[in-house]
């Protein structure tokens, strides 16, 4: 387990050479690592022999993925009757899973784009893997709306192309907005991720030992040679992609929420949905980032790059967004009471005391509202096990939340005679489990073949990267780093 280096501890260790500074910052990369160490440690994860745990993990996740793909094949060849959906619950796990996965993706874009615009330098240690997570989560998300339509071969009706009956899609429908939002989000995320990867692919190309590696990394590195005339346009392109991705990520989950908010179902028809969904997406996504990064940093010995300080900051984001989510839950109840509308009031009452009561008590109340409140305490933010426990609660809680919103709104229809519950079939369950297999398989392939941390970006936060960095007594990074902090 990690000890928690606090600012005074780190300074105390170095105070022998220089007087303690009045304002101290814990460095983003610990132990005064130099550029070469960063390159070796991160590239090493790709270049060293494939570890045995990787094969075991990949075997399990890829078998799970194959089961999921089999379920999708069975669903498509047989029909949506293989899912448990029926009247009145016409949307259930499929759309729950869609919202769940797409929400997870949002944390990656928040880290890579929004924190970049806010000049949060700590993002450099986690942005690459978080962006990869975004792509894989959006791939998993995209499966569900595509297959839930039933006749998948008709999905092209969503595309605005001329067809023989002359009819066009309804551009005023949130479902069509969703098609545009999610496909744009995936495309822009790929472009942003790949742009950031190019300098690091150049590193792998230059370190490649076999001809095949040199060829493949070389092709995708585009001949990158670190020229400052290139960096100039590259940095502008990266800044603009971040600036474009920022409103995009906020729009995507807003549009997802419009799928519900524009309908007239009690508890769906609310104006609070767009901000509430966006906060929930970031909340759930940060939990998934930590779920993946805490094991990865331990396995690949990246503790000097992904430091306790990084985990602390991510925990604070979870606390903030979790509190926004909790506020939104309270506001939903308040508005349903204040509206005086009997259907809204009943739906809210039913959420707490109806047939799905324990989903609310466990999922929404305990996992989403209460568990992140532990992060008010510094001890909890610096304790890996507490952090991991909270992240697991949030991962589960956010899935329950979407289920409650969707099925909770539908299962008690306006007419009591059409009330009914949702019972998932084995196809429902294994399709969802299968998407975890797809997600983890893709993530394992990513950490095996691509640098999981943005090397060229981490190097910029080292003290030696500063052009005004004085080097007393020649090139001596340790002395220089001490000099830097005084």
């Amino acid at each position: 387990m990690d000890s928690a280096p606090t600012a005074p501890d780190v300074i105390a260790g170095e105070a022998s050479a220089s007087a303690a500074p009045s304002v101290a910052r814990v460095p983003l990369v610990l132990n005064q690592r130099n550029f070469d160490w960063v390159t070796n440690r991160i590239s090493g994860a790709v270049e060293n022999a494939t570890p045995r745990w990787w094969w075991v993990a990949f075997a399990i996740s890829s078998i799970t993925a194959v089961i999921g793909l089999f379920c999708l094949g069975y669903l498509i060849s047989t029909g949506v009757g293989t899912w448990g959906v029926n009247i009145p619950v016409g949307w259930a796990w499929g759309i729950t899973n869609f919202v769940f996965w797409i929400g997870i993706g949002h944390a990656g874009t928040l880290i890579s784009a929004i924190l970049f615009l806010l000049r949060q330098k700590w993002r450099t240690s986690i942005n690459r893997s978080a962006e990869a997570m975004t792509l894989f989560a959006v791939i998993c998300a995209g499966i569900f709306p595509a297959v839930h339509v039933g006749r998948v071969w008709m999905a092209w009706f969503l595309a605005p192309v001329p067809m023989q009956y002359g009819a066009w899609p309804n551009f005023r429908s949130p479902l069509l907005w969703d098609v545009f939002a999610v496909s744009t989000y995936f495309t822009v995320s790929v472009l942003f991720w790949y742009t950031g990867l190019v300098p690091d692919l150049g590193t792998l190309r230059d370190r490649a030992t076999s001809k095949a590696k040199k060829f493949f990394y070389g092709i995708f590195a585009l001949g990158w040679r670190g020229s400052n005339r290139h960096w100039r346009h590259y940095e502008m392109a990266y800044l603009l992609l971040a600036g474009l991705a920022t409103p995009l990520v906020l729009s995507v989950h807003s549009v997802v929420s419009f799928d519900f908010a524009v309908s007239i179902i009690p508890t769906w028809h609310t104006t609070i949905f767009p901000p509430y969904f966006v906060a929930g997406a970031i909340f759930g996504g940060f939990a998934m980032v930590l779920t993946l990064m805490i094991p990865a940093r331990a396995i690949y010995k990246l503790q000097d790059i992904i430091t306790p300080q990084h985990i602390d900051k991510m925990a604070k984001v979870i606390l903030l967004t979790g509190s926004i989510v909790a506020y939104s839950y309270m506001m939903e109840f308040f508005i349903s009471w204040y509206s005086g509308n009997q259907y809204e009031r009943f739906a809210s009452y039913n959420r707490i005391f109806g047939p799905y009561w324990w989903y609310w008590w466990v999922g929404m109340l305990f996992c989403n509202c209460l568990s992140p409140q532990l992060f008010w305490f510094k001890w909890c933010r610096y304790n890996i096990f507490v952090v991991y426990f909270v992240c697991m609660c949030v991962n589960a809680g956010m899935w329950f939340e979407r289920f409650i919103i969707i099925v909770g709104g539908l299962h008690r229809d306006f007419l009591p005679s059409s009330w009914g519950l949702f019972h998932p079939s084995w196809v429902d369950i294994w399709t969802f489990v299968g998407t975890f297999g797809i997600f983890l398989s893709l993530f394992l392939l990513f950490i095996r073949f691509l640098p999981m941390i943005a090397m060229s970006e981490v190097k910029t936060v080292l003290p030696e990267a500063d052009p005004h960095h004085a080097l007393p007594g020649g090139h001596h990074p340790v002395a220089a780093a001490k000099e830097e902090r005084t």
Binding site: F171, V188, L222, M236, P467
Partner: protein, 185 residues
């Protein structure tokens, strides 16, 4: 410029021990009046554009054009079918011009999509990438540029370039491992 063995010369290159020494060297080369030269580093060095005498990148102008194209595309895509080709009446709701806010989400998404493609392709076009072979790759030490190497190269096509002057300038700015880089390996 051609060496006695008949190899065309790309330029004269030197390695520097740190980002700060490369930064100082760049300022001196800029002040010496060179135009065809470049520095290479594993990461973008803050302030290097000014040290090289380069202005702000004009890539943003291309992205603006991309964004406007995306917005206009969305307008044509939405108003064309919904107002002229096949006005679709859903649930008896109005289809007049005042329903235009319902078109905003797709206008927004396509603006972003086209801008992002513009940024991505403009970056590569303006950097002349992909370019898989380059004279600098002929120098063995240059492999370190993606790790921890800092390099400066004066190109032979610069009017001020002369073998002795270039070497002298690189030495004076603290360059190490000064080398002539050839066009062909």
């Amino acid at each position: 410029m051609i060496t006695p063995s008949g190899n065309r010369v790309y330029g004269m290159a030197a390695e520097y021990p740190s980002a700060s020494s490369l930064y100082e060297a760049a300022k001196q080369v800029r002040d010496a009046g060179y135009k065809r030269w470049d520095v290479h580093s594993p990461f973008p060095i803050h302030g290097m554009d000014a040290a090289m005498g380069l202005g702000k990148s004009w890539l943003s102008a291309v992205v603006l054009v991309g964004g406007i194209t995306g917005l206009l595309t969305a307008c044509v895509l939405e108003f064309g079918p919904s107002s002229f080709l096949y006005p679709l009446i859903v649930h008896g709701k109005p289809t007049n011009f005042w329903t235009v806010p319902a078109f905003f989400p797709i206008m927004f998404e396509l603006t972003i999509l086209f801008s992002a493609f513009a940024a991505f392709f403009a970056w590569q076009a303006m950097d002349f990438l992909p370019r898989w072979n380059h004279p600098m790759f002929n120098w063995d030490r240059f492999k370190r540029v993606t790790n921890d190497g800092f390099f400066l190269v004066l190109e032979a096509r610069d009017p001020r370039f002369g073998e002795n002057e270039a070497r002298e300038l690189l030495e004076r700015t603290g360059g190490q491992h000064i080398t002539v880089v050839h066009e062909e390996p």
